[in-house]
Amino acid sequence: MATSKPPRTANRWQVARLVERRVETRTAQTLVLEVPDWPGHLPGQHVDLRLTAPDGYQAARSYSIAGPVVDGPGGPRVEVTVQRVHDGEVSPYLIDVFGDGDPLEVRGPLGGWFIWRPEETAPVQLVAGGSGIVPLMAMIRARRAAGSKVPFRLIYSVRTPSDVIYADELRRRVRDDFGLDIAYVYTREAPEGWRGEPHRIGLADVNTHGWPPDLQPLTYVCGPTAFVETVADLLVGLGHPSRQVKTERFGPTG
């Protein structure tokens, strides 16, 4: 068997290089990485990124993949969106220092639970808190890329209008992606002309902008722990079966 190629496994580390960077907000940037031996992934999955210092010290963190794989001239491209963690060890480096063409190590895709398969037919509701939008955006992008007609509703909670990641693209998609609805919740400062006061997400937001349980939607909730706890409790209270509510909680991942 010495001649057969080893199976490509998601847990092998491989070198990836930065080929593009997009500024999303004051504190979030999208990094497009060229990953030559990428096996493909499903929306909602994540990657581990590993940095090595000259003395061999390493730090690794998990980041959600932000969209479908893209074919580039040098091979497959995978993008992640990185939110700066104050005093973090990895995110400030990725945002401030990591440069065009620089290498790091990647392994993935990882995670087999918080995923949406484009062949699913149930309506989908997505509830994002802050940078919890990233894996949900991967689902929105994959839906369009696959030509899925499944109706999607996104409820996106942010502190202020300037904290909306992918703001322009979401505006465009809500116009062009038939069957995609988006509602925003602002916790600190709402845009001009917004009806209502800034508030934390509550029953009325989820009830008004989500799907009723009778439609048996698939639900994905991603954000900080307290946000996810609140939303998941509301959904269960509204009658959504627990097993239909998938959650991903962001701990500190500096």
């Binding site: 847990n11 210092a53 639970w113 269960v236 909680r249």
Partner: protein, 199 residues
């Protein structure tokens, strides 16, 4: 050693205590769960050990509280890379709960209120290394951290310490649980960095 990322220094290396590879220290207590947090009333709570021969041992909440209590202080390591040192718990040793269980099984499948499961070798639940805990830092364990009671198996990655634990099914054959079916390691030793299948 991996390929160097230009300009990456990382945190100062000097005063870091010994952590498993790839872990970093946190003072917080992050939460990782796959779905909504179940709320389990104490008056209907029970813990059941079902042996492979069909026999069952059951404890109500009052019965669990009446058993000898231990107060392990342990380090915990989450597969999402945080470690928390010197955490304080109170609960009942699995040695106590397994003492009268007649079994030749080698594996246990822990199962939880809410449907979560995780598998462990039965030996790893013995020898003063595993507990059913109900108290954290002197207060009742909050629901988001697995209350009313969770498994505590600190020598394995923390997903093995099933939250909202409801019982153990003892098995002669290993049966992968929730995360293990989704690509995570069957055993999950943080010191050997067994995060994913194949590690």
């Amino acid at each position: 050693m991996g390929i160097v990322s230009p300009g990456f220094q990382g945190r100062p290396r000097t005063q870091e205590p010994a952590l498993p590879p790839g872990q970093y220290l946190t003072e917080d207590f992050p939460v990782l769960s796959a779905g909504p947090t179940p709320r389990v009333p104490l008056d209907t709570w029970e813990f059941v050990i079902a042996a492979e021969n069909g026999s069952e041992h059951r404890w109500s909440w009052q019965e669990l509280m009446a058993l000898p209590q231990e107060t392990p202080m342990v380090d915990i390591h989450c597969v999402t890379r945080w470690s928390k040192l010197g955490t304080n718990w109170q609960g009942v040793s699995l040695d106590t709960l397994l003492a009268d269980v007649d079994t030749g099984a080698h594996f246990a499948l822990a199962h939880s209120y809410g449907g979560y499961t995780t598998n462990l070798p039965l030996d790893d639940l013995r020898g003063g290394r595993a507990w059913v805990v109900h108290t954290f830092d002197g207060a009742p364990l909050p629901a988001e951290h697995g209350g009313p009671a969770r498994l505590l198996v600190p020598h394995l990655y923390f997903w093995k310490s099933a939250k909202w634990v409801r019982g153990l099914r003892l098995k002669t054959m290993d049966e992968p649980g929730f995360w293990e079916t989704a690509g995570y390691h069957d055993y999950g030793d943080p010191w050997r960095e067994q995060r994913y299948q194949g590690d």
